[in-house]
Subunit: 418 residues, 2 copies
């Protein structure tokens, strides 16, 4: 089926879901989880074909992301059940006002309609995204990466079987059958068919969407996250936070990429940082962090001299750019210039400095004395997440179910005119 036809089917099916009550949506989600488990064999078979085709073409890390096993499928089904357990954002009255003329004005959560998601190779995104869109009352059109194509098809087949078991149209969850750039462009320009486009992927995909998208789009993802160590920092806490932010999962968008250190403590702190991130980790048999140092930091500790682009790079690796700044204001200025607006942290015991930093830094999440790694729907208590918005419109930070819905005003009158 062509992408256009899929979109038409999704659009036609969406109103059915918009009318479906919470109980039945949850029933469908549970049936989808069950179908996923029941089809484990078929999904693993498809995944083996994907892995065979991809081997040699993509990195071992990417191969691991692509690989499924029975446990991972169980986890995917568990994720769907978690979404079923979340409160329904559709129909929730967000605001209510009774006007002097007697009009009762309610702002009510309603579905978007059709949500399109462009993503890459992790097969679990297929089931996560579909479950979230469904619970939010929207049909979804999924366009995954070509490496995971067979796996995604098998997963969608199972989910569609689940939908039908709950008497909902299978067309509510669609997988685009063309994984070339053409289909991504078709989704970006499907005005009237796509109510919300969510690109989940690298900087290239996000840039393509900024340039080409004609449909409403939420940018996600890219994170050049900073940790600023103030002169009034608890330095032991700073070391713990930096090691966590940098090394607990370097490939994710909320990992730290840049460390800024107050000049007054640089001579004391930087050697400790090097010991913690390089020497101690080698001694513990963990991958050490490569430090890319600005001239002031390089005058204090050993490391790689920072190149021109090192403070503007999302390394997603065991690499940390380090610079010395004169004070919190210079840190704020550096972040304003180099950040992608994702997550930044300050470590300081000075409440006034913390407050100034939190107020001035214009990013989706600003942390005081904790790791940037908490920017995550689950950690924020949303129960789930469809990515991290780094834009200012509609959603900023982790996107949960509420961010996947829109609102309308419903006004009850008794003949009022103006």
């Amino acid at each position: 089926m062509t992408t256009k036809e899929l979109l038409q089917q999704a659009k036609a099916a969406a109103p059915v879901l918009a009318r479906t009550d919470t109980e039945r949506k949850n029933r469908a989600l549970l049936a989808m989880a069950e179908a996923l488990e029941a089809e484990t064999g078929a999904i693993l078979q498809a995944n083996i074909l994907d892995l065979e085709a991809a081997r040699g073409h993509i990195s071992p890390v990417m191969l691991d992301r692509l690989a499924l096993n029975a446990d991972r499928i169980l986890a995917m089904a568990g994720g769907i059940r978690q979404v079923a357990a979340l409160p329904d954002p559709v129909g929730r009255v967000r605001k209510r006002v009774v006007r002097p003329n007697g009009l009762v004005i309610e702002q009510v959560g309603v579905p978007m309609g059709v949500i399109a998601i462009i993503y890459e190779s992790r097969p679990n995104v297929t089931s996560d995204a579909a479950a979230l869109a469904l619970k939010a009352g929207s049909a979804c059109v999924l366009r995954g990466g070509k490496e995971a194509f067979r796996s995604a098809n098998a997963i969608v087949d199972a989910m569609q079987a689940g939908l039908e078991a709950a008497d909902l149209p299978a067309e509510l969850v669609q997988l685009v059958q063309d994984t070339s750039r053409t289909s991504a462009n078709e989704l970006m320009t499907a005005v009237g068919y796509v109510d919300l486009l969510i690109p989940r992927g690298g900087a290239g995909l996000i840039r393509a969407c900024t340039e080409h998208a004609r449909v409403p789009c939420i940018q996600t993802g890219t994170g050049i996250c900073h940790v600023y160590v103030d002169k009034d920092a608890d330095q032991a806490m700073a070391l713990r936070i930096i090691e966590n932010a940098k090394t607990s999962r370097p490939s994710v968008c909320n990992a730290e990429e840049v460390c800024l250190v107050h000049r007054e403590i640089a001579a004391e702190f930087l050697p400790k940082l090097r010991t913690r991130l390089v020497d101690d980790r080698i001694a513990d048999g963990k991958p050490p962090v490569e430090l890319r140092l600005d001239p002031a930091a390089a005058a204090i500790i050993d490391g790689t001299p920072a190149g021109e682009t090192d403070f503007d790079t999302e390394f997603l690796d065991y690499i940390l750019a380090v610079a010395v700044v004169d004070d919190a204001d210079q840190a704020i200025g550096h972040i304003a210039l180099h950040s992608t607006g994702h997550s930044e942290a300050i470590v300081t015991a000075n409440a006034e400095t913390a407050e100034r930093f939190a107020r001035a830094v214009d990013s989706a999440a600003v942390y005081v004395n904790c790791s940037t790694r908490f920017t995550d729907g689950g950690e924020f208590g949303l129960g789930c997440e469809m990515g991290i918005s780094t834009q200012k419109l509609h959603a900023r930070g982790p996107m949960g179910l509420e961010e996947l819905t829109t609102t309308k005003y419903v006004i009850q009158g008794s003949g009022q005119i103006r």
Copy 2:
């Protein structure tokens, strides 16, 4: 100054405003209102030049929109004072959660940064938009219509004097000096300089923004609004609502353009509708409404046969398209096909039908037993308005101060890592 330079200045000035507290923003707004009144002479002089240049080139209605007098300037100053009296959306904690690990997560209202507004000839939009942007903590770059160019410059001069009187940078309110299409395109594509673009104007402008905008944009305005008269309607109420929705101010976006009538009552209701909108109004010396009738309606009353585009036209005039439908579901289907998603109303005494209509119609505002004319920031109790969003992302319906801000998460920790 070039548009690029204006944008750079606005971007540079925006952080100053973001740091400014409510009291000082309000002081600036009051100083702007005072300056506007003090400069009445200069503004009227500029307006006379605008009117002289425009006479013969634009319609009498447009000339009236363009014309200022001392009262209108007083009203503009009054509008600014009203904005000063509104609560500040910046710094307001919208959500707060304490997580099991002790993290305190707050979602806080913060300024957009730079808001650009493209609008047409009404000079009062210049002061309204600037006041709203300022209160929302954002610098604004205004691009008005060429007919009002001298008036807008005089108004902006006065407002900048007010800003300086309150020790804020004049660059926070900027007027684009080029009124050609080039400058509109420059604003639409000023990625990194414009955080939010609001086009206020006709369908052509909105379409241009959909096609060309690379910056975040909120579509406003176009309203093909429907009133559906159900078989269970209080028909006297329906007539009152329709006359109000159609004729109280036909040139605005929340005016009714299409009336749908349930087949069972068509033979009884349509003659009353004709009497009310045509004969009674002629007798009262008021402009009658031209009825454009579908075949079923034309079989019952006299009127103009509806042409192919009459159910897809924002007349903004004393014209009403009328169609007969089989039931509420067909009305809902017709609206889904022809509406611009602005405002629709049902008149019915049947609570179940009203509920079905309110749930199924996917527009920014859905009315039960009242006029569509209430879609307005003031009528909704927002105290002001920067236009009516007809899109689903970020804002839907009247946009007040909250819709002109974004949020960020501020997270307080005590050394938490993940």
